[in-house]
Assembly symmetry: C2
Homo-oligomer: 164 residues x 2
DNA sequence: GCTGATTAGTTGCAAGTGAAACTAATGTCA
DNA sequence: TGACATTAGTTTCACTTGCAACTAATCAGC
């Protein structure tokens, strides 16, 4: 694939359309946009809200801090997403008497219904998106993706989107 | 890797941390952040500006429309990036007498110097980022990424970020 | 148990974003 | 030639975002 092109003076040249950080970004934008359509148009839910719902649906009651850590979101993003979902009655907050700084967030019955409706749509999207790709190639893809994610986290520096 | 987990009632369950659209997004965010550090801190340049410079450095004089098409950016994003770079003297605009709606954009000498400085840094980043990954695995990764990008473009609907 | 550091979460603010409307120029077709 | 559609690029607007500052609560060490 990349044949390490060089300029006349021996320097390696850059071709944006082959530059992996750029390419992964473009792919991510398309995937996000397609997914956002699904839960945006049909449920009026954005990506941060979706991530909150997904975490709560999977793990049950948890704090905003844990939601942010698991879903890789900045604490302000989590805060706003939870507030919005709370106002719309999809999640409920309950005080933690043992530590009154934090509060537990959980899906309401309405929120659980939304979760149950979105999950099959999300999985169907992933299915259509990766359809026809050989399973072993997909596994390789996912393995490399995991390496790049972890190394990217380091190269991005001390910053973590959960705010620490 | 993904063993297609199911819930008690036979429905496939969703695990966000294994959900490919989510994972690719997280990886993209880390990569963008790390790269943005490089040309942000050292050159005061953001991602859209960087993409404009990269295209002009690779292809020479071109219109904003073409820049947007090649670098997958919305025309308003291109417009703002070009304006900013123009004000800072890194690009110049020249009228196309044959079609006065559009204008040609090209790197100035200063812009070309910035380009020449950033390219090796960007390539070095990519190198560090993908270091240690077996070449054939990386090729598979890139091939699958290309498929996902193209299919994502379709699944995202008629929308194209270049505005058409 | 008191003082300073840390943590969970919220809010103000400035910057960035895309959709839609807009301007100016060009293309199309009768 | 004239009327209408299309295109390149800009601007306006509403919305999202992350950072920094903030509040309230808990922890650490003496």
């Amino acid at each position: 694939m990349s044949t390490t092109p060089k300029t006349a003076d021996g320097e390696r040249a850059l071709h944006l359309e082959q530059f992996v950080p750029y390419r992964i970004n473009v792919a991510a934008v398309f995937a996000s946009r397609a997914l956002a359509r699904i839960y945006g148009e049909q449920f009026g839910i954005g990506i941060p809200e979706w991530r909150v719902i997904a975490q709560l649906g999977e793990f049950g009651r948890m704090t905003s801090r844990d939601i942010g850590e698991l879903s890789q979101m900045h604490k302000t993003k989590v805060s706003r997403a939870v507030s919005g979902l709370d106002q719309r009655g999809l999640v409920a907050r309950s005080e933690n008497r043992a530590d009154r700084r934090e509060s537990f967030v959980s899906l309401t019955a309405a929120g659980a219904r939304v979760y149950a409706q979105i999950v099959p749509l999300a999985l169907a999207f992933e299915q259509r998106w990766t359809e026809g790709i050989a399973p072993d190639e997909l596994r390789t893809f996912e393995r490399v993706l995991a390496v790049l994610t972890e190394r990217g986290r380091l190269l991005a520096g001390t910053y973590r989107e959960d705010g620490a």
